[in-house]
């Protein structure tokens, strides 16, 4: 009993209001909070602030405060709605493809077989190629004149003449989604694999003793155990897909026509091409709100306790 402490003297009141756990939690969270407060909070507030002004950098002397005009203007902007629709298409297609492929691949890599480690290392390659190189590589592959995709399909006799790929407005967004999925699957797989690895093996043994077949084991043990992994995948990939920019920039610049004019591209054009920082910030906030809402839903439906 010698090492029990009694609250006494200075700090007693503090300790009573904030127990040992509170103080520890504060201590443990402090570094993250310092980093985020120091680096991330100002930019967020600053762009919120900008979104209430009509700012055109080419007219530095006229930057009126316009309340919510930048926001309300969005709803009458035809191209904005086009971009919303493109973003929805792109995100739904790519996130669901990522989730399904990553699920299958993680199940595969969870098996014991020869060459598994080699395979899992190879899987990381797409992730390791910087986005710029990745985008240029796909541009090359998709090229309608001398691209590798045309070459391959032609040599395999799937097509008898070179096809138009990115230039075909019905295909563009899906082709970009493909390049995106290819690059994102590795991370998603790793996240799912980690949650698979957290399933205690005796759980499977118990289920096997209980006579559960492979499908029952999958649906009753594996899938539920992967929920946290799925939550991470859904939050992260949705965030990435909704806000994805690099591929659109390098592959199509929103074209052809407005076939790949996604919201993030729209924001880019508004901000850096039109130099309208105010309305660009307003759009960003709309996008942020949607991203947050989706993340919230994923946390609530798939998260453990968050």
């Amino acid at each position: 009993m010698t090492d029990t402490v009694s609250p006494s003297g200075r700090g007693r009141r503090l300790r009573q209001r904030f127990g040992y756990d509170e103080r520890n939690a504060a201590l443990f969270l402090a570094p993250v909070m310092v980093v985020l407060m120091g680096v991330a909070v100002f930019p967020i507030l600053y762009s919120l602030y900008l979104s209430f002004f009509r700012i055109k950098l080419t007219r530095p002397n006229q930057t009126p405060f316009v309340w919510f005009d930048n926001y309300t203007d969005l709803f009458s902007n035809e191209l904005f709605w086009v971009s919303v629709w493109r973003t929805v298409t792109f995100s739904v297609v790519s996130v669901s493809a990522i989730a399904v492929i990553a699920l299958l691949v993680s199940l595969l890599l969870n098996q014991e077989f020869r060459g598994r480690r080699v395979l899992s290392t190879i899987l990381l390659i797409p992730w390791a190629i910087p986005y710029v190189a990745n985008a240029l590589m796909w541009k090359w592959i998709y090229d309608s004149g001398y691209g590798a995709l045309n070459g391959l399909l032609y040599q395999l006799d799937f097509i008898d003449k070179y096809m138009i790929w990115l230039g075909d407005q019905d295909k563009t967004i899906f082709l970009i989604a493909n390049a995106f999925v290819w690059k994102e699957v590795p991370l998603a797989t790793i996240l799912l694999l980690v949650s698979l690895k957290a399933i205690p093996a005796d759980l499977y043994q118990a289920a096997r003793v209980d006579g559960a077949n492979i499908w029952q084991r999958f649906f009753h043990i594996t899938l539920p155990a992967m929920k946290p992994g799925f939550m991470l995948v859904m939050i992260y990939e949705t965030m990435m897909a909704i806000r994805h920019f690099d591929l659109f920039f390098i592959l199509t610049e929103g074209g052809p026509g407005d076939a790949s004019h996604v919201l993030s591209w729209h924001i880019y054009v508004e901000t850096f091409r039109n130099l309208s920082f105010g309305s660009g910030a307003a759009m960003s906030y709309v996008l942020a709100l949607v991203t947050f809402a989706l993340s919230y839903i994923f946390i609530r439906t798939l998260g453990r306790r968050i």
Binding site: I129, L136, P200, T271
Partner: protein, 318 residues
């Protein structure tokens, strides 16, 4: 009676063998499909890096270079270091050796070095900063826990494009323009929220009672984290290491804005700079892309084995 029993036995054995066979076939086929899916574009990347600029536009493409050349790689590795460039030593003076190889070829390796430094620091800082935070959020019940989680999430929902300019202001105020520090700091800020999320999810999966047992055994919160949780969290730590390393390795937009000179430019920037309005060097870019794959794969080979081991088994009775 006895014969049917034996027949059943044989039948069972056969079924077992059959299911083993099916399993192996399924694994084999999916492994092949996966390899093709992942490697097909990469194969093209590698193949084209050994071709000249003229050859990679062949129709149909040459999957195996007909006139393989090491010119791209020679330009990258053969660059002489740090001699002052004069009219006489500038590359491009002699069109025969200049060709499509950009004069900045020699910047690639230093830029990879920059990327490596930044990525490594970001990984280390992420672990130092993210691990305790995740433990607190997962295992300590305190007022403001949910608020903290959502605060961390909120910092990541705004598109980076909107944040570039204000980020720039922060970096300038900190006096970090055109330094690796600017990248380390901002990459830390953009990766750490997700690091925390990954770890929180994993820590929450570990039984509360392990934490309690450790603390009753005499661990402070911090000791419980270090001695009990960290050893059990290796797979998720590896996921975090890979995630933060590769995010830093890949990042383009912020690096584009914050770096100006070769001293701080990272790989993606130098890579993008190979397509200027004059020089077109796709095969060269592909060679650079091939080299860019190497460091992350080395990191993966070092750490990936830890994802495989499932250490939590036996912590709690099924």
């Amino acid at each position: 009676m006895a014969t049917t029993e034996r027949a059943n036995l044989i039948d069972d054995r056969r079924r077992l063998a059959l299911s083993h066979l099916t399993r192996n076939v399924v694994i084999f086929v999916s492994a092949i499909v996966l390899m093709l899916y992942v490697l097909a574009p990469v194969t093209w990347l590698v193949s084209s890096s050994f071709q000249t600029e003229a050859e990679i536009v062949s129709v149909p493409p040459h999957w195996i270079p007909e006139n393989p050349t090491l010119m791209n790689f020679e330009a990258i590795f053969g660059a002489t270091a740090e001699e002052e460039v004069t009219y006489e030593t500038r590359s491009g003076q002699d069109p025969a050796s200049g060709g499509y190889i950009p004069s900045t070829a020699g910047n690639l390796l230093p830029a990879m070095g920059n990327s490596l430094i930044v990525a490594t620091l970001v990984v280390i800082l992420n672990l130092l900063v993210g691990v305790p935070a995740a433990y607190a959020l997962a295992k300590i019940r305190f007022l403001g826990r949910d608020a903290s989680v959502y605060f961390i999430l909120v910092t990541r929902v705004i598109p980076d494009i909107a944040l570039v300019v204000p980020f720039f202001l922060v970096i300038r105020k900190l006096g970090l323009l055109d330094s690796l520090g600017s990248l380390v700091l901002t990459y830390l800020a953009v990766t750490v929220p997700f690091t925390v999320f990954i770890l929180v999810q994993f820590f929450e999966g570990l039984p509360d009672e392990l934490d309690k047992a450790a603390r009753v055994d005499g661990c402070s919160r911090f000791q419980s984290l270090v001695r009990v949780f960290l050893p059990l969290s290796l797979p998720s730590l590896v996921a975090v290491i890979l995630f933060t390393f590769l995010t830093s390795w890949n990042e383009f937009l912020l690096a584009l804005m914050f770096t100006q000179t070769e001293a701080s430019q990272t790989l993606p920037i130098v890579l993008a700079a190979f397509t200027s309005d004059f020089t077109i060097s796709f095969s060269f870019i592909n060679a650079a892309g091939v080299l860019a794959i190497v460091p992350p794969v080395v990191v993966a080979v070092i750490f990936e084995r830890y994802i495989v081991s499932g250490l939590t088994a036996g912590a709690v009775k099924g």
